[in-house]
């Protein structure tokens, strides 16, 4: 079982304790929730980048130069 180091600042005493099963489960749940949020954020960022690339391609197809497209950003 993983451990935690606890330093009591009022006494200076350090104690090493095993994480409880509940603490381990909570941390795994927290990590899973974090991974979901992170994946959603990355997907949103990728969708935004894809939309930008698509828009730039359409502008280029209309005859705008790369400098003109860049000036719109």
């Amino acid at each position: 079982m993983p451990t935690k180091l606890i330093v009591d600042c009022s006494t200076g005493v350090t104690t090493e304790l095993e994480l409880t099963a509940e603490e381990v489960a909570q941390r795994e749940a927290d990590a899973a929730a974090f991974a979901e949020i992170k994946a959603a954020e990355e997907a949103a960022a990728q969708a935004k980048a894809d939309a930008k690339a698509s828009a730039e391609a359409k502008l280029a197809a209309l005859g705008l130069t790369a400098d003109e497209i860049a000036a719109l950003n």
Binding site: P2, L5, V7, D8, E16, L19, R27, E28, A31, K38
Partner: protein, 173 residues
């Protein structure tokens, strides 16, 4: 270092490693807190994100940081459940190297929201290493009485032996 800095407590991780390092019963007698870290983790990668939680709270954190990794710089918005004040050096980085981190918490015992600033570098004799610079807020009026350093992003990793953290109290007079 100014003579108003006082080392409150230091902890060094032992041979078995530790999932978290927690400072508890932090006295309210200082103006600010400074946490200095030297960390290495067991993740199979160049670094692993460090998490920071105060008073056991996993809500109402807001933080932004920029991070350079040796080839690019990216701006991040952190999650609300904890702060990520930097990256610990991890198993794929040069052996026996540790990250250096600094977390500053002004007015930690006030009844206002608590602001943080942090900077951190990982260590690696290679092209990939991380430098982090950021700020954050814990939106809570309670005085900070405990701080936990861990790896909440992953669930089951740990800091390895000889990782250290020292908590300083700073008085303004």
């Amino acid at each position: 270092m100014a003579n108003t800095y006082e080392a409150i407590a230091t902890v060094t991780v032992g041979s078995g490693g530790a999932a978290t390092i927690e400072f508890t019963s932090i006295p309210a007698t200082y103006t600010d807190l400074l946490l200095l870290t030297s960390l290495r983790g067991d993740r199979s990668g160049v670094t692993q994100a460090v998490s920071l939680i105060v008073n056991g709270s996993t809500t109402t954190y807001t933080h932004k940081y920029i991070r350079g990794d040796g080839s690019s710089v990216i701006s991040f918005t952190g999650g609300s459940g904890w702060m990520n004040p930097g990256q610990a050096t991890a198993a794929s980085s040069t052996s026996n190297t540790f990250s250096n981190g600094k977390i500053y918490i002004p007015n930690y015992a006030s009844s206002n929201n608590k602001s943080f600033s942090f900077e951190d570098v990982s260590e690696n004799n290679g092209t990939e290493a991380y430098a982090t610079l950021g700020v954050g807020v814990w939106s809570n009026a309670s005085a900070i009485t405990s701080i936990e350093l861990g790896q909440r992003d992953y669930g089951s990793l740990k800091f390895v032996q000889y990782s250290t953290a020292t908590l300083y109290g700073i008085k303004n007079s």
